[in-house]
Symmetry: C2
Subunit: 248 residues, 2 copies
DNA sequence: CGTGGCCTTGAACCTAGTCAAGTCTAGTGG
DNA sequence: CCACTAGACTTGACTAGGTTCAAGGCCACG
């Protein structure tokens, strides 16, 4: 039954030109003709259940994946086996961009909930890049963004305290939801407290405490995984380190 | 006098094909014919004194720069004016890879000591990429590495304690010196304690204390900016979080 | 020879981590 | 449909690692 409904959904968005996420996703900035060409090589219909692995660190990276619905986390394991969540990936976002010197993937990717994906083979992308300057530019832009986002995270992890980190995450998720046409003030945290903590460099208890403190101060309303942002301005200020809500 | 000697040095390495850093730098993986083509567009002889700015966050990014000698730091300033050092760049390494959605640079770059550079205009690189698949691949590889390095730093900043961070930096610098044909066990820290601390998310006092503790434990010998690694294995173990030298 | 920047060292403080219960929730099977 | 359970989350008490503040030493440079 579920399978049937999901199949119907796929039938409904079988091409980039029909996809409402296209202007955020890989095709952004390409002409219609270019998108059609690209489109021909994209494999659709890949789906993952919650907890399923999309790819594993160390595997050869042969494709990019665009999230169509659902969400993923990417993470790396250090030599000592410590997990570091490197990002959460929402619809229209691309995973699999980075490969190391042997073309191996430096991170693993796992579905945080039921997730549908488009798969874009890398060798095809490279071929098309030959005569599609727009696509080349788009690829560089995507990688640039990845670099810049990671550098932002360096700032978060090295200079911000627990409240500023959580506020930054909320602002970030809010903006990404809004970019996709959803509410900037009410959304679901698809990831667990543990995963948030891992990503932000905090203990899960700290995540819980700070979110509840935000609620007590009337900045947000939080019911398990559902967040409603009540005082966005104050959360921006907190994220930028301009104010302080650490006192009780 | 200095100028004259440095000029002589430049005359001596006026082309990628003669440069002993070529196989680490942008030309890596290209054929000789391809390198010659690339070479024609590279501007050499750009130099910076200690403290001089190569480019500033927010400026349009129109070129890449390869460090020929000397060293740079890159850093970003948050809205609140907090500085975050995002990397140190040694000879053969490329800066300026990331640009944001408006083609603006997300970081500034400043020389840590007298530095000579090669400048590679981005539009030229894009043109050459048209029919040079090797160059395209090389660009993606460089950006991939940048992403991966930044993700490594996320792990460092979010999971490692002060000792592990310093050990990681020492291992990293040691490897990069070795790659360029220099000693893996004796090198100079071109950056200040303050800059190390900023990069690693530590107070400069902590940097000083930990380095001195390493010395007391016989892991390194440190005299101001000059480091000699005495027990590399133990430093690797520390960096990977396998051991602990926190006790006195 | 004096001055300023960089570095070291010590002591007090504080943020977030750890440990330990306890509660809630979603999912399972009777 | 309800009872049960495992995992997720909350809350509290204590602790530790690193920051901050303060003072003093060391060069390098004019």
């Amino acid at each position: 039954m579920t399978g049937k409904r999901l199949l119907a959904r796929e039938m409904h968005e079988p091409h980039c030109t029909d996809c409402r996420l296209a202007d955020l996703c890989l095709p952004m900035g390409l002409t219609n003709a270019e998108i059609e060409r690209l489109d021909g090589f994209i494999k659709r219909g890949k789906s993952l259940a919650k907890g399923e692995v999309l790819f594993r660190q160390g595997q050869p990276g042969t494709s990019l994946y665009a999230v169509r619905s659902g969400a993923l986390k990417t993470f790396s394991l250090s030599e000592a086996g410590v997990e570091q969540v490197t990002g959460f990936h929402l619809p229209s976002e691309i995973v699999g961009l980075a490969v190391d010197s042997d073309e191996r993937l430096p991170v693993s990717a796992v579905a945080l909930e039921t997730t549908f994906l488009c798969e874009i083979p890398l060798d095809m992308l490279d071929n098309l890049s030959n005569d599609m300057a727009h696509l080349r530019k788009r690829m560089l832009r995507l990688m640039s963004r990845e670099i810049r986002d990671n550098q932002q995270m360096l700032l978060v992890l090295s200079k911000k305290n627990a409240e500023q980190r959580l506020a930054t995450l909320l602002v970030n998720l809010s903006a990404r939801h809004q970019a996709r046409g959803y509410s900037a003030t009410a959304f679901r945290l698809v990831m667990s407290r543990h995963e948030i903590g891992n990503f932000l460099g905090l203990a899960l208890e700290t995540v819980s405490r700070v979110l509840n403190r935000f609620q007590q101060h009337g900045l947000i309303q939080i019911d398990n995984k559902d967040v409603r942002i009540l005082r966005a301005e104050e959360i921006y200020a907190l994220a930028d380190g301009l104010t302080d809500h650490s006192s009780d």
